[in-house]
């Protein structure tokens, strides 16, 4: 309510004291810093994944592939973005840093863009001296990160493009030092990894410039982050590292072995090169020994995961090492049984996953597993364990019943199927069919199909009906997933059509 006598002025005087505005600015700044950090963290989490997969050869290709026309547009954009970058570097005014970073980011995006990144165009436009300049000491982290990222992409190009990185190598190595922030160091490691992958000549250059030590330091998990991933591929390529890993894993105390086992997890998860080198070493034997002898959960988890990665990642292992009749094969299955019977869910899940990869191997592998003590445990797990474990178990059991064939359509192994169904696994699969998880439902349906088709004496339909399988399949009648819908509908039509039950 307006006071009778005075109207208080609402407008602040132009000439005011600095204090209150400064306090406000300081608090706002704290909020901004927090937002930036949240964003940076989120970005790392997202990009980490993207980075990993684009390191592999089989990136899902962008829906719209670059045509020639698009390629030339891309090249034009690249030349333009180099001009922008040079302008930004020349600019010294306020916000210069941000300008540089934006220009670098644009270049990086172009270089990561298509299947055929415009590396050549960038190099022609003078990218290398400019990028080396952007790596100079004292540059802000964001700038270093973007620059190293550009270089990573360039190094992923053709051999002569990779060699273009030579002038940048000393600075990339320097930025992996202890004083650098982790993201910068990792990105540099990644770039160097691409260089190291190019060939012996460049690898020697890297070694002579002292790249080994900082790379190795990054591998050690005491930097407080799980992000040593990017250093993985490049590390394995360096002479002596592989031996060190195997030695520590074999002889080290449990603590050291645990650390090294995690290193192996990253190596095998992230890099095909590393996996295949490790597969050819006696790593598998060492892992099995550790699994058999240790009861430390901390150690068992990474060892088991390494084993799984190894089996899943390189067919050399299943084809040449884990062959039936080898002692190691029997032992692998024994340690799997040990883990499957463990109280710990992670061990159960990881071992089921690893076993499913073995079970996907040859008929001999399937026989071996089928005749082991694993089956009864698996069947029990299929009905009693948490959902994610059940799914892994279902893969193992499913794999045991089919064998690959030259015709493409898997061949049924009837006696395995009969004994598994006899062991009581059908209700577990029928449950999976009812799951909302599409992958699990598909597994369930596939197994029902095997039963319907393969059980001797046409027993299949009755068995399925007894487990309420018809009802489970009819749920898919109007399911939004077309594949599952038609699969379920076909099964119902084929085995439970008009004629079903007439002769019963």
């Amino acid at each position: 309510m307006a006071d009778e006598n005075s109207t208080p002025h609402k407008r602040g005087p132009l000439k005011s004291s600095v204090g209150s505005a400064a306090v406000q600015r300081r608090r706002d700044h704290a909020v901004t810093v927090r937002k930036e950090r949240r964003e940076a963290l989120m970005r790392t989490k997202r990009l980490c994944r993207v980075g990993v997969s684009s390191d592999d050869a089989d990136v899902p290709v962008d829906a719209d592939m670059a045509t020639d026309e698009e390629q030339s547009v891309l090249e034009d954009q690249t030349v333009k973005s180099m001009e922008e970058l040079n302008l930004a570097i020349a600019y010294q005014g306020k916000g210069a840093m941000q300008k540089r970073v934006n220009a670098l980011r644009e270049l990086r995006r172009l270089l990561s863009k298509s299947e055929y990144p415009p590396v050549e165009a960038a190099l022609k436009a003078g990218a290398m001296p400019t990028l080396v300049q952007c790596l100079s000491f004292g540059s802000p982290d964001e700038q270093l990160l973007e620059t190293a990222w550009c270089l990573t992409n360039i190094a992923a190009g053709k051999p002569e493009e990779t060699k273009a990185l030579l002038p940048a190598l000393p600075l990339l190595i320097a930025h992996m030092g202890e004083k650098s922030s982790l993201p910068v160091a990792e990105q540099c490691a990644w770039a160097l990894g691409n260089v190291a992958g190019e060939g012996e000549e460049l690898r020697d250059v890297l070694l002579s410039q002292g790249a080994l030590q900082p790379l190795a330091r990054m591998m050690l998990p005491n930097k407080g982050s799980t992000g040593h991933a990017k250093a993985a591929t490049e590390l394995i390529r360096i002479d002596g590292v592989l031996d060190a890993i195997l030695r520590h894993l074999k002889r080290g105390d449990e603590e050291l072995a645990t650390e090294v086992a995690w290193v192996v997890v990253y190596l095998t998860a992230l890099s095909n090169v590393a996996t295949s080198m490790l597969a050819k070493s006696d790593l598998l034997q060492i892992l099995v020994d550790r699994l058999a002898s240790s009861n430390s959960l901390e150690l068992l988890i990474p060892v088991l995961r390494s084993l799984g990665n190894l089996v899943a990642g390189d067919s050399y292992v299943t084809d040449n090492v884990l062959v039936a009749g080898n002692e190691v094969t029997v032992r692998v299955i024994q340690v799997m049984i040990k883990c499957l019977s463990s109280e710990h869910r992670v061990l159960k899940k990881e071992s089921a996953w690893a076993l499913s990869n073995v079970a996907a191997g040859s008929v001999e592998h399937k026989k071996l597993i089928h005749s082991s003590g694993a089956v009864s445990i698996l069947i029990r797990l299929l009905s009693t364990s948490p959902f994610d474990i059940r799914k892994e178990v279902a893969y193992v059991l499913g794999n045991l019943c089919v064998a690959p064939s030259e015709s493409g359509r898997p061949v049924l192994i009837v006696d395995h199927l009969v004994s598994l169904v006899g062991g009581g696994c059908l209700s577990g699969f029928a449950d999976l069919v009812r799951s909302a998880d599409i992958e699990a439902a598909r597994l369930g349906l596939q197994f029902l199909e095997l039963v319907l088709r393969g059980m001797p004496n046409g027993e299949g339909p009755k068995l399925v009906e007894a487990e309420d399988g018809i009802e489970a399949m009819e749920r898919f009648q109007f399911h939004e997933n077309e594949e599952l819908r038609s699969m379920a509908n076909q099964l119902v039509d084929k085995y439970f059509g008009e004629d079903y039950g007439l002769d019963a």
Partner: protein, 871 residues
């Protein structure tokens, strides 16, 4: 059934505090025990002409307070209670109130007016009391002027309380007609004219339709302008207040009147009494506000069309307006520099001049320069001060090209004035002007530096010397140094301030120790300047900043040791603690930013924490906020090692989260939870049950200030990112909260800018929570737990996309969530994603966005989606 309350009401105003307290207690009890009778008794008291003026007035005030409160939650309660009262009781109360408008006691009438408006504020939006406006209007035609005056006053209050939508246009027209007629010169009674003029001020927002009609608008404007010439000063002042409000509400309708308004305002500025002259200046200041906003909207982008065109009124009036304002600068008051709340012609004139400079830019310079040149060397301090003030006022707006040559000439003169001028006023304004020079004309964006190796030392010497001058001058010198340091914030590895760093820090610390540092807010300015100097410093002086840690810790320690303080001293001590915590926060941030200095800092982290814990043990909200900010900064610096402080710190964290009365403390604490999550990662798990419980409680409380909600949602995301799949156990609580908040914020349903801004910040918080949860669960065996929430989240994205009122920040976060969902759920969500609008139109829009952050997030989302649907 009304009860006799006269005696209690009189006792409640007794000089004897025991009697008074007892009476207040009685009133409270009465109110709690029987609200209807209580309110009725008060209204009967107010209406009763036999009763003493004092008890009637208090009866009205108590009644008013039973209908409204500042605090939102309390207000809502009161409104609900009134609405639930028995209709007949309310009817009787309202009858008493209306009857009081005819009272001969002016206090009773005026109080009744206010209460009626409060009741109307509750009932009219509910479509109740429809006869009110009609019955008031019929009063207007009554003969006794005091009834008419009270009725018009009531209409004015009513317009203040009720939103324009709650009254239909027909009634608005009648109210405006009554009010404007009451202002008319034909109205003989001065009180009626004054009440009408004040009522119009409140009714201006209702006159949208009337201002669009030329005839009606002409008539209103003529009546208002005539009222500015009334012989009564209060009427003139009220009329100018109307004019100010019209200027900002109906800027686009002003063109036909602006010449006349200029004529009458300039006469008022020059000749009228100060309250009137101040309002006349305010008119031009608010026109500047409008034009600055419009020109801002134009921006550099001429294709963007602002809703309102700029009429360039200021530019047109410039050559007459500037001399008018310059004249006011000479009308200073002797003690205005010492009085924080001072407001007079010179201050208003200078403030307006500053706004004019921002509106017209370069054009103002040639109009002001002659005034400066003529007065700056005069013997009378008023002339020198006015000249300096004029210079300082126009430093924001004109281009650097125009100003820098002048500043280069003036700088030496100003430095001499700051040391040698005999007048403290002149020194004060000179130091302030130097601050403005550094604020607007110094920094890495400017091509030609005004601070050079040749003058840098002199500038600093003069500023440091002035810190020993009178407190007001010293405070302004700090301000100048503040902006001087800020200009070097991104100077690179070597700063021109490095050689002086130690001396500057020492001088600032000395200033904080001055006996009179409490005057003119000198101590605050000195500490904040110290902060800015530290923040803008380079690695060259890192060692000195490390040393400063100990100095500040010692100071803070001293404040904690002080005992048996008077309440005055305690207040001072508390303020000092806040400043010192602020200082620690900045130092921690600075040293924590690079590894070598971080290790130097961390050797003190135990000590710092111990001090901060002791600060928390003293209960004061402002200090808690500052200490929390320091904790947040320290958590970043220590990283996972912060875990060792958690057992002791946790209870204060919880206290902060529980403090929703002082909601800023709550908000800052929520932010600190985020800091700690990022520092501790999964080590924060042990505290999450407590934290989540508290956050969920906060969200369910209807007392929580709404501004804290978005940060709480973001904080869910921070927690989920830190603890990953362990967030599982909170999903069943957090997800429904997020979902219902999402539903509420999907549609803004209001054209109110502030509301749209709030809704967007709420959406952003919700989306950040979703992103954090998805990324937290990524690659874990429990991702399937999130599948059931996916449809709703996608639907939320679709609906805010369709709404088309997201700001850039929300857009970026939203498209990020789409990517996170695809990334984490993969093929499980493929068909859902493909069915959503977001994955097509929204994604495509973001992919072609000009904002590179949006584009980046979108490209990532595209990749994640393509992976999800290809599996």
């Amino acid at each position: 059934m009304a009860m006799e309350v006269t005696q209690i009401l009189l006792s409640a105003q007794s000089v004897d505090s025991t009697v008074r307290k007892h009476a207040e207690e009685n009133l409270k009890q009465f109110q709690e025990q029987n609200l209807p009778v209580f309110l009725l008794s008060l209204s009967v008291e107010l209406a009763n002409e036999e009763k003493p003026a004092d008890s009637r007035k208090l009866a009205g005030l108590v009644l008013k307070n039973a209908l409204d409160a500042k605090e939102q939650h309390r207000k809502y309660e009161l409104v609900q209670r009134w609405l639930s009262l028995d209709v007949s009781v309310k009817g009787q109360i309202k009858a008493c109130l209306l009857q009081t408008l005819s009272s001969t006691a002016s206090d009773a009438r005026s109080t009744a007016s206010q209460v009626i408006a409060k009741v109307a504020g509750i009932e009219l939006p509910q479509k109740q009391w429809p006869e009110l406006v009609g019955s008031l209007l019929s009063n207007v035609h009554q003969v006794p002027p005091h009834v008419k005056q009270a009725t018009i006053e009531t209409l004015g209050y009513l317009c203040e309380e009720v939103a324009p939508e709650a009254i239909d246009q027909d009634q608005v027209n009648k109210i405006l007609t009554a009010v404007v007629q009451g202002m008319n010169a034909n109205e003989a009674n001065i009180e009626v004219r004054l009440a009408s003029t004040r009522a119009l001020y409140n009714a201006i927002g209702f006159a949208q339709a009337n201002f669009s009609n030329d005839m009606e608008r002409d008539y209103i404007m003529r009546v208002v302008c005539e009222a500015t010439l009334s012989p009564e000063v209060k009427i003139r002042q009220a009329a100018y207040e109307c004019l100010v409000s019209i200027g900002s509400t109906y800027y686009e309708k002003l063109a036909p009147y602006i010449q006349d308004i200029f004529n009458i305002t300039s006469k008022a500025v020059r000749d009228d009494e100060e309250p009137v002259a101040l309002q006349a200046i305010e008119f031009w200041s608010s026109i500047c506000d409008e034009e600055i906003d419009i020109l801002d909207d134009y921006g550099g982008d001429f294709t963007a069309d602002s809703d309102v065109p700029c009429y360039y009124f200021i530019k047109q009036a410039l050559s007459a307006l500037v001399p008018l304002l310059l004249e006011t600068l000479l009308k200073q008051e002797e003690d205005q520099d010492q009085d924080e709340g001072a407001w007079n012609l010179a201050m208003a004139g200078g403030t307006c001049l500053g706004l004019v400079a921002r509106t017209v830019g370069d054009d103002i310079v040639p109009l002001v320069m002659p005034f400066i040149e003529e007065n700056i060397t005069k013997g009378d301090w008023r002339q020198r001060e006015a000249a300096t003030y004029a210079f300082g006022s126009i430093l924001e707006g004109p281009s650097p090209d125009k100003l820098i040559p002048i500043v280069n000439v003036a700088l030496g003169f100003m430095l001499t004035a700051l040391t040698k001028d005999p007048s403290s006023h002149v020194k004060d304004t000179t130091a302030w002007t130097l601050g403005r020079i550094f604020e607007f004309l110094h920094g890495s964006t400017l091509a030609t530096p005004i601070i050079t190796p040749a003058n840098c030392q002199q500038i600093i010497t003069v500023l440091l010397q002035s810190m020993k001058d009178a407190p007001n001058v010293a405070e302004k010198a700090c301000g100048a140094l503040y902006f001087l340091a800020q200009g070097y914030e991104d100077v690179g590895p070597t700063s021109p301030l490095t050689p002086y760093f130690q001396e500057i820090v020492q001088s600032l610390l000395n200033a904080t120790h001055r006996e009179d540092a409490g005057e003119s807010r000198l101590r605050t300015a000195a500490y904040e300047t110290l902060n800015e100097v530290v923040r803008s410093s380079t690695e060259e002086t890192a060692r000195l900043v490390v040393e400063l840690v100990q100095v500040i810790m010692t100071e803070l320690h001293k404040t904690l040791e002080a005992q048996k303080l008077s309440s005055d001293e305690r207040e001072k001590q508390t303020e000092l603690q806040g400043l010192l915590c602020g200082c620690l926060q900045v130092i921690i941030q600075k040293l924590g930013a690079s590894d070598p200095t971080k290790y130097a800092l961390l050797q003190y982290s135990d000590q710092i924490i111990n001090l901060l814990l002791r600060v928390f043990a003293c209960r004061n909200a402002t200090v808690h906020e500052e200490a929390m900010l320091s904790i947040g900064a320290l958590a970043y610096a220590t990283g996972p090692n912060f875990a060792k402080y958690m057992p002791d710190f946790y209870k204060y964290l919880e206290m902060g989260l529980q403090n929703f009365e002082e909601y800023q403390v709550c908000a800052v604490t929520v932010g600190v939870v985020g800091d700690i999550c990022r520092a501790l990662e999964d080590k924060v798990l042990a505290y999450c049950d407590g934290i989540m419980t508290q956050l969920l409680k906060d969200l369910s409380s209807n007392q929580l200030h709404r501004s804290v909600k978005p940060p709480i949602f973001s904080c869910f995301g921070d927690i989920a990112l830190a603890i990953g799949e362990n967030f599982e156990k909170y999903l069943m609580y957090a997800m429904p909260m997020l979902q219902s908040a999402a539903e509420l914020s999907a549609h803004t349903s209001s054209a109110d800018d502030e509301m749209i801004e709030y809704t967007n910040s709420l959406r952003n918080g919700i989306l950040e929570a979703y992103s954090g949860i998805f990324q937290g669960f990524k690659n874990s065996p429990k991702t399937q737990l999130l599948i059931p929430y996916a449809p709703h989240i996608l639907q939320f994205l679709d609906s805010i996309y369709i709404e088309k009122d997201m700001d850039d920040i929300v857009t970026k976060t939203a498209i990020g969530v789409l990517g996170d969902l695809a990334d984490t759920l993969g093929s499980n969500a493929a068909s859902l994603i493909q069915a959503s609008v977001s994955s097509k139109d929204f994604l495509n829009e973001c992919l072609s966005s000009d904002d590179h952050l949006i584009k980046e997030a979108a490209e990532w989302a595209r990749l994640a989606i393509s992976r999800a649907i290809s599996v």
